[in-house]
Symmetry: C2
Subunit: 419 residues, 2 copies
């Protein structure tokens, strides 16, 4: 139940811009119809008498937005981490994804996934399910019960993967259309067009998916330029496309509707321009990039070019579902880049926090910060008394990002509703 007016008291920290935190110590945030009305030192007269949730000395921060993860890979988090991308898919991932054809298994595994996702503070996410239509239906249902906001994609693949996990082009498109029609009017859990990636899609599948995206005005998610072998493979498969991005672009899957692409590590100049022009968002997935030895996304360079970047846990190429871990790893990778090229400044903590909140939140509209008119999505963070006494609010947040986990999140709000 969303209260018409809710007042939350505590210490608010958010990043309206990526440059720095904005801090409101001991303040009152007024939330009207699920949106931030304003943050005040004391409750304004016109809101006197409204419901107050008082969090005292705790931090209140925007909840996390995960732009890229695979729900069907949750069970295998942290396994098979000695393989590179294409081997890892073959040895670990496809076999697990097959199990999601079984509704009961899917329901059980997706419930574990969703519980941990919410526990860790991610209340908005762009999620890959599996190629199974009925399995994906289970994921929609599980997430609806959890009441978080998500785009959920049945994974489309009709070639270049084991028989047991691909479908015919027609079956893949039909299943996708079925889920779209069933869930397109949902408030919080909505369909998204999800070709796994170019190499496992026939030209006909890509064309059909692009047509669905345009017809139903649906967003799109996929993988882009993650690994050098993969890029060569795409070039061999799609000889008439200029580059990897162009494969999607030609098929109405690259910004013709809102689009998020995972990774984008090795984008050439032309691709960077296209990403920018089409307002395609990139999901930076630092743990995954290291674990499957893809490389390091040049995040600083892309930010300087004005590309939009959010963060992805990329479960299960990434092993940690808490998006704060992706923030930390993004910072750590940027420091390593800086060791070899001093002109590329490491990401600040505020920049990484921005990526994981307002940066990615852009894909969901006005979310990810506490600015006026933004949806009130928040986490309440409790830290140890010795820390709270001694350190600034910014230090306390930096500590939570680096070492905190779900045990420290004592309340979660989505669109003004306490979950």
């Amino acid at each position: 139940m969303v209260e018409p007016v809710l007042i939350v008291k505590g210490h608010f920290i958010h990043t309206p811009t990526a440059d720095a935190y904005e801090v409101h110590e001991n303040s009152c945030l007024v939330c009207v119809d699920g949106r931030v009305e304003g943050i005040y030192p004391v409750i304004p007269d016109r809101f006197k008498g409204c419901l107050v949730h008082d969090y005292g000395n705790r931090l209140v921060i925007p909840s996390f937005v995960d732009l890229h993860l695979h729900a069907a890979q949750f069970l295998q988090c942290g396994m098979g981490m000695t393989s590179q991308l294409l081997d890892w898919l073959g040895d670990y991932t496809f076999d697990l994804e097959r199990q999601f054809q079984n509704r009961e298994f899917a329901r059980k595994a997706y419930t574990l996934f969703a519980e941990k996702l919410v526990a860790c503070g991610t209340l908005r996410a762009c999620i890959f399910a599996s190629s199974s239509t009925q399995g994906t239906e289970e994921l929609f249902e599980v997430l609806k019960e959890k009441k978080i906001c998500a785009y959920v994609g049945k994974v489309n693949m009709d070639r270049n993967a084991p028989e047991f996990i691909i479908e015919t082009t027609q079956a893949s498109l039909d299943g996708t259309r079925y889920l779209i029609e069933k869930y397109q009017d949902e408030q919080r859990v909505k369909p998204i067009i999800t070709p796994r990636f170019a190499p496992t899609s026939s030209p006909g599948l890509l064309k059909g998916l692009g047509a669905l995206a345009v017809k139903y005005r649906l967003p799109v998610q996929s993988h882009l330029s993650e690994n050098l072998d993969e890029i060569q493979w795409v070039q061999a498969l799609f000889k008439r496309s200029k580059n990897y991005s162009d494969v999607y672009f030609k098929n109405n899957l690259f910004g013709q509707t809102p689009t998020v692409m995972a990774h984008g590590i090795y984008l050439g100049e032309g691709e960077r321009d296209l990403v920018k022009k089409m307002d395609v968002m990139l999901a930076h997935c630092p743990d995954s990039n290291i674990n499957v030895r893809s490389g390091i996304m040049p995040a600083r360079t892309y930010l300087d070019l004005g590309l939009r970047i959010g963060l992805g846990s990329d479960i299960a190429g990434g092993h940690k579902i808490g998006l704060n871990e992706a923030m930390v790893r993004a910072i750590q990778l940027s420091k390593l880049v800086n060791l070899t090229d001093k002109t590329l400044k490491p990401l600040t903590v505020a920049e990484a926090f921005y990526m994981g909140t307002k940066g990615g939140g852009h894909f969901f509209g006005k979310t990810g910060s506490f600015e006026t008119d933004f949806l009130f999505d928040a986490l309440v963070i409790e830290d140890d008394a010795m820390i709270a006494q001694r350190y600034s609010l910014e230090d306390r947040l930096e500590k939570f990002i680096h070492v905190g986990d779900d045990r420290q999140i004592c309340a979660r709000y989505l669109e003004g509703e306490k979950l």
Copy 2:
């Protein structure tokens, strides 16, 4: 209380060598007087009727050995992570370490530290306290209560740090001698000679500390070659030494008694030879190396040279106290190294696990594995039923290393005693 004979049942995984796991599924480990007598498929007749702790389908693994961390920095874990080493010391660390001159503060903060350390499965550690003798005394007492094994060092510094945290050479040596005499006969928590690092030590202090190490036959810990600025500073301060290692070596602080040096990132050929010849152990602290932008220790190269390497969380240059996190980051860094030099193979999970158990355990004698005659130090790991059903024991361990935390450790043993 150590049982004369204890039998532990479960799935045992350990790394007698770094090449691979040794796995004993559904087995019985017999522990006599705190040491492993053997691992058997069923309880041998001669041990029938002895006490059994049955862990069913859970994993039993060696407990973690942390070769390098700063107890007095625990509160600041994950803060100030935008600074480089020397700035970070000045802006964050020294001011906090000063507080440990206050016994009450020290007791409280060290208790938080010790509880988390034990919770996360580290039952042996080489620990820096602060420069305060009385604060360090509190750490000895707190750790004795927790009953873990640790070498604890009062941090010696008599120059090149703020006045409020250094001591005179004499006071530093006197405090060290006081603690040695008080604690040298302890069973589990013992003194270790701990010059902070060469730059904060006068030649007289180093000489005096080396004399104490030799006289009392005490081990030594310090920092070595962590950062390029630091190395230049050492060269400027100790013009008559051949290199950084030689500063310690000349003062009987480099292998004349068992020695562990943190980092050792930039060791030249001569230093590598000396490390090997003097059997100095290196504590690889991957998170810290990235966080304070020191560089990446060439772990694979050192392993190939036959140097002994263990792992350190390096709290609080490193932010995570769970040593499994250091294993993961060591693997991740080795993968990044491999991206630019294919001849340097990434660390396997077994190699990283070895480093954090038997590798570092060597500093404490026969510890860190379940070989016959080794002290029985162990963690019992419980994972989710869906994981346990589906995956191999090796996969389950890999998953615990990557995503597990203290909540999954359901029992801890040290020298055969259940803690």
